[in-house]
Symmetry: C2
Subunit: 232 residues, 2 copies
């Protein structure tokens, strides 16, 4: 599969990396080491997680627009297959790499480190890792990121904190996305916030619409500030 | 966690089972044995998979309505936590059990067997297993089901067959759900079908709207026929 993928995508203007399963037994230790290395290099790594189709890539496009000029951004797109997301991000002129996980449902710290090394992060302030679309497994692995952000889209329903509690527990920010379609779905934002805060009292919650840009500025402000603090 | 869950849910009109991790090394063998046992008992097991929030439970409610009177149905709801879905199905008067996976992101054949044994399938024609909401891991494990059905909802996007190919490859039926919101999303049904058929030439694809009932009759017809063949 690895060979075929490389062949298939070799004409693209971004690297496609076939990530190998991590050999490290102690993921937390590896994650800590990676975070320390990033701190030394003054690079902020953000881990972005959600279900498939919650709008990670669309939000990223809007976020990049907000932050352009302030931060030098790189994006690592993790997927089981395809280069759909890398292509979308490359079209914004942003440095991007596509990571293929070889069927794996999440990234751990060792896999993230492989991606970072292949990517080459020189000259970047912020690297955003778009994790595999999955509300379960990515929550279980510290990638070495400085902060975790999750997206829950309105069409998925406001019961998700009840069913997938770990993801809501490990995230520093919850972005409630696709709020432009609220009229067409049974989704109560207040109920969702309440259920989330029961799991994670300190989580920051922002309602966003990547299409209209609503809420993206507030998220960009938060991120700009976090990166500034990290680089001190 | 197990103890707390049982305590929390003990007043509910359905069993809540904490499923244990499977001890079997050879999942395919276990799946084959379970399927043979179900064949002997003339019980049809359907494995229903999708991303979180694609509408598995809502579709099930509509399906149960269609099949009531023809088939004796039982539902096994698998989730990491909560009894939200079991409560919804119980309200339809259908026999239901809630399986808690203890954080696991999928069910394998051993776990499914535990559920079946705790459920007690006497007098049932059809048991529907609503798998954990996840477009990655459940595709990798044969549960012992006779057929696999997946749901992809319109808000998730028509690029999902490219990114999560295995799920589309192992499914016998793809239900494209929430087609009532097609006007509000960039989703091309023909593109989605084409991408799916490239992975799986024989897959049956039905567009459905559980709210209006559109397409649910066609799916019910398919299922009624499959159950009849299985019981021969």
């Amino acid at each position: 599969m690895a060979g075929r993928s490389r062949e298939k995508y070799k004409m693209n203007p971004y690297k496609v990396i076939e990530i190998k399963r991590s050999v490290f037994e102690n993921n937390d230790r590896e994650a800590g080491l990676l975070r320390k290395d990033l701190k030394d290099k003054k690079i902020f790594l953000l881990n972005l997680m959600s279900s498939p189709g919650a709008g990670k890539t669309t939000m990223l496009k809007a976020l990049i627009k907000e932050l352009r000029g302030d931060l030098r951004i790189g994006v690592m797109e993790a997927d089981i297959d395809s280069v759909v997301d890398a292509r979308t991000i490359a079209a914004t002129g942003t440095r991007v790499i596509q990571l293929h996980t070889g069927g794996m449902c999440h990234l751990d710290a060792g896999m993230t480190k492989q991606g970072i090394e292949e990517f080459g992060t020189e000259g970047l302030d912020l690297v955003i890792l778009e994790n595999v679309g999955n509300l379960v497994c990515p929550a279980e692995f510290d990638t070495g990121a400085v902060k975790n952000v999750m997206i829950l889209s309105v069409p998925e329903g406001d019961d998700k904190p009840l069913k997938y509690p770990l993801m809501f527990t490990v995230s520093d920010v919850l972005l409630i996305s696709k709020i432009d379609v609220l009229p067409y779905f049974d989704f109560n934002i207040e109920t969702c916030k309440e259920r989330t805060r029961k799991l994670n009292h300190n989580i920051k919650i922002i309602s966003i619409c990547a299409r209209t840009g609503e809420g993206v500025g507030e998220f960009a402000d938060w991120l700009r500030n976090e990166v500034k603090e990290w680089k001190k």
